[in-house]
């Protein structure tokens, strides 16, 4: 636009050529700029993407493939052949007649016994580790080991206790569900009182509620533990985890109050003039108008309950009551690391949240902007 004001001595034709050239340069520059943007964003994105992929891919690996060095991206497994009704792994074996594909019948202490799948009666014996390196090499193929998922879920964190990850999964769901009910029931009236009922002392109380946000949980943790565990005898039950959700918390009260305040005051006043009680205004007017923020609270309560580790760690002692978070930690604490199953259980633990995210992306983002974090 500014070009029009600059007196030009060139003929219209030259000006047109120059403009075309400028356009081409600008287009080219734009193309390279967007290309470099994409490259940069993707490169940084790898930091977020690779661990995620690594979790999912490890979940599909076989137990011996997990520790393959150097690590491979895709899950590999032995190629198996059917020999007399038995599935045996196929090997590339160096024999006197050259390299042949044979099935391993047994590999024990450096001695391998192989059979020819076409002719199972013929058995051959090889000393694998006697200076003769690479005599037999397993034939691998890319194979997604789906069985890791049921295997992981059907075992518990401690073998022989009888509680599986399915039980932990169910426990997590139950705790999350009750927490959502408690949070919605208790926080909405409190937030309504702070948002719309004018009563003396309200602002002072609101400052108190905000101040409790500052208090680190470590301060209240020990007396609450003794209160629930020793005084009420609620140890090793869900009660210490879910009962407090029925008594409101500062974050949700704050979040809901901020939303309720955006509902026009005139609507409440009009209802009051018509003789509606505060309870009627709250249940018939405010609640139906607040579905978006209630959805946010629901999603974030689910996220919080599903993710919580410290609460279950303090109160749940027997494996049949473990949540997914606690069970997974307990599983990890065992001496042998079954990484593929650990990753499979982690994927199952993560999937409900991913599903929730894709159903309620807006709610997630909104909640983060409002509360500042996921916790």
């Amino acid at each position: 636009m500014t070009d029009n004001f600059i007196p030009s001595k060139s003929t219209p034709r030259e000006a047109g050529d120059a403009k075309r050239r400028r356009d081409r340069v600008r287009k080219l520059r734009g193309f390279f700029r967007s290309l470099s943007s994409h490259a940069l964003i993707s490169f940084v994105g790898l930091f977020f993407l690779i661990p995620f992929l690594w979790m999912v891919l490890t979940a599909f690996k076989s137990t011996q493939d997990v520790f393959h060095t150097p690590p491979r991206w895709l899950p590999y497994d032995n190629v198996l052949v059917d020999v007399d009704g038995e599935k045996l792994p196929l090997y590339n074996v160096q024999t006197n007649d050259g390299v042949r594909q044979l099935a391993a019948a047994a590999i024990v202490e450096g001695v391998g016994t192989f059979v020819d799948p076409a002719n199972p009666a013929v058995q051959m014996e090889y000393k694998i580790q006697r200076g003769e390196v690479k005599i037999a090499e397993p034939i691998m193929r890319v194979h997604f080991n789906w069985k890791n998922f049921p295997d992981a879920m059907e075992r518990g964190s401690r073998p022989g206790v009888g509680a599986s990850f399915w039980v932990y999964f169910k426990n997590s769901l139950v705790i999350a569900f009750i927490s959502i009910v408690g949070t919605l029931l208790s926080n909405t009236p409190v937030a309504y009182a702070f948002a719309r009922i004018k009563f003396p002392g309200r602002d002072l109380l609101f400052i108190v509620i905000l101040a409790t946000m500052m208090l680190p949980y470590q301060v209240t943790m020990i007396p609450l533990y003794l209160f629930f565990n020793d005084f009420l005898g609620w140890g090793n039950s869900f009660l210490p985890l879910v009962v407090p959700t029925f008594f409101a918390n500062a974050y949700d009260v704050f979040l809901l109050r901020q939303f309720f305040r955006t509902i026009p005051e005139e609507m409440c006043d009009a209802a009051r003039v018509d003789g509606a009680s505060e309870w009627q205004i709250f249940t018939r007017l405010i609640i139906p108008l607040s579905v978006p923020v209630l959805a946010t609270v629901t999603v974030f309560t689910f996220l919080w309950a599903w993710n919580d580790f410290t609460g279950p760690l303090l109160f749940l002692t027997s494996p049949k009551n473990f949540t997914m978070a606690l069970g997974l930690q307990d599983f990890q604490g065992q001496r042998t690391m079954v990484w593929n199953q650990l990753m499979a259980a982690s994927v199952v633990f993560t999937v409900p949240i991913i599903i929730a995210f894709f159903f309620a992306q807006k709610t997630f983002i909104q909640g983060i902007k409002l509360t500042g974090s996921k916790e």
Binding site: I41, W54, P70, I222, F246, F247
Partner: protein, 315 residues
């Protein structure tokens, strides 16, 4: 108060209460009914535990034995406790190094996600997704990624000719490993920065461009000051969260090896947990909790005071 009593009136909540009209008084009681869930919760789950914790912190208290008043003994004991100082050092490491690094990188990521390119929504999902992976799952995943031999991080470093450290058993690298884990899940911080970046008025950026400012100058002189309130918010929430750092460190080493290697992952809350629930020194742990509260309080106030000079609020 004395005046009221002298006149033979009963004292009633506050002296002002009598001046309220009928409407206010009715509203007060209605309000109280609506507030009931919080009032009970506050008394039982906040006020009582605070008071009890304060009493414990001045006592020697084992849950199976009667409470024994000890005065300042617990607090004095902290001063001579080498592990206490070690745990405080570890925690400060996460606060002083972990938080600023994470903030800087998440601001950079938000700037990237704010560029006008196609498919940006897909990139945003990729950057955000790790932050919703449950804490325990993400710690276990990173234990696996940081595995010195079969882990993917050292393998990738090997591709570019770097010999990766033994992350989990080298005391110098265990905390950086945990910071990496935290950065992987910083999607929430990125989202907050991103919404701040989208609120920066384009008119300002265009004006700066007309004045001949290049991209870097526009970022430094317009964008960074405009999002400074968000930086302050992220800084304070980050500092408070890092002071309470617990679950990640706990899962990282498990009950048997808390603090391994060489107490380099013995964070404040981990040591507090150890005192309270493994060694049942409830009084000592309560004293630690109060010291933590005071440290957090002082840091928050300091940050707010210092930031007054560096934060720009529009309007």
């Amino acid at each position: 108060m004395d005046k009221l009593r002298a006149k033979g009136r009963s004292w009633n909540w506050s002296p002002k209460f009598r001046k309220w009209g009928a409407r206010e008084r009715a509203n007060f009681w209605i309000g109280m009914v609506f507030l009931l869930p919080w009032t009970i919760g506050f008394l039982v789950f906040t006020l009582y535990p605070m008071a009890a914790s304060l009493v414990y912190s001045f006592s020697i208290y084992h849950p199976k034995a009667p409470l024994e008043w000890a005065g300042l003994q617990n607090y004095a004991g902290l001063l001579n406790d080498k592990l206490f100082w070690k745990s405080l050092y570890n925690t400060l490491y996460m606060v002083v190094i972990g938080v600023p690094v994470t903030l800087l990188v998440s601001f950079f990521c938000a700037v990237l996600l704010n560029l006008k390119v196609r498919g940006q929504s897909i990139y945003r999902v990729i950057y955000f997704l790790p932050s919703i992976v449950p804490t325990v799952a993400s710690v276990i995943l990173w234990l696996w990624i940081l595995n010195p031999n079969a882990g993917i991080l050292n393998t990738l470093l090997g591709y570019v000719g770097i010999q990766g450290p033994n992350w989990m058993s080298n005391p110098a690298w265990s905390k950086p490993g945990l910071i990496l884990l935290g950065m992987w899940g910083m999607g929430g911080t990125i989202v907050i920065y991103l919404s701040g970046l989208q609120d920066v008025p384009t008119s300002l950026l265009e004006a700066a461009e007309l004045d001949g400012a290049n991209w870097w100058q526009r970022l430094w002189t317009v964008t960074v000051p405009m999002v400074s309130p968000i930086t302050l918010f992220n800084l304070i929430t980050g500092v408070i969260a890092q002071f309470q750092y617990f679950a990640q460190a706990y899962v990282f080493r498990g009950t048997q090896n808390l603090g391994y290697p060489l107490n380099s992952t013995l964070f404040y809350s981990v040591y507090l947990y150890q005192n309270a629930f493994l060694w049942l020194k409830m009084g000592y742990a309560s004293a630690m909790a109060w010291v933590l509260f005071i440290i957090i309080l002082i840091c928050t106030i300091l940050l707010l005071k210092v930031s007054e000079r560096f934060t720009y609020y529009a309007g």
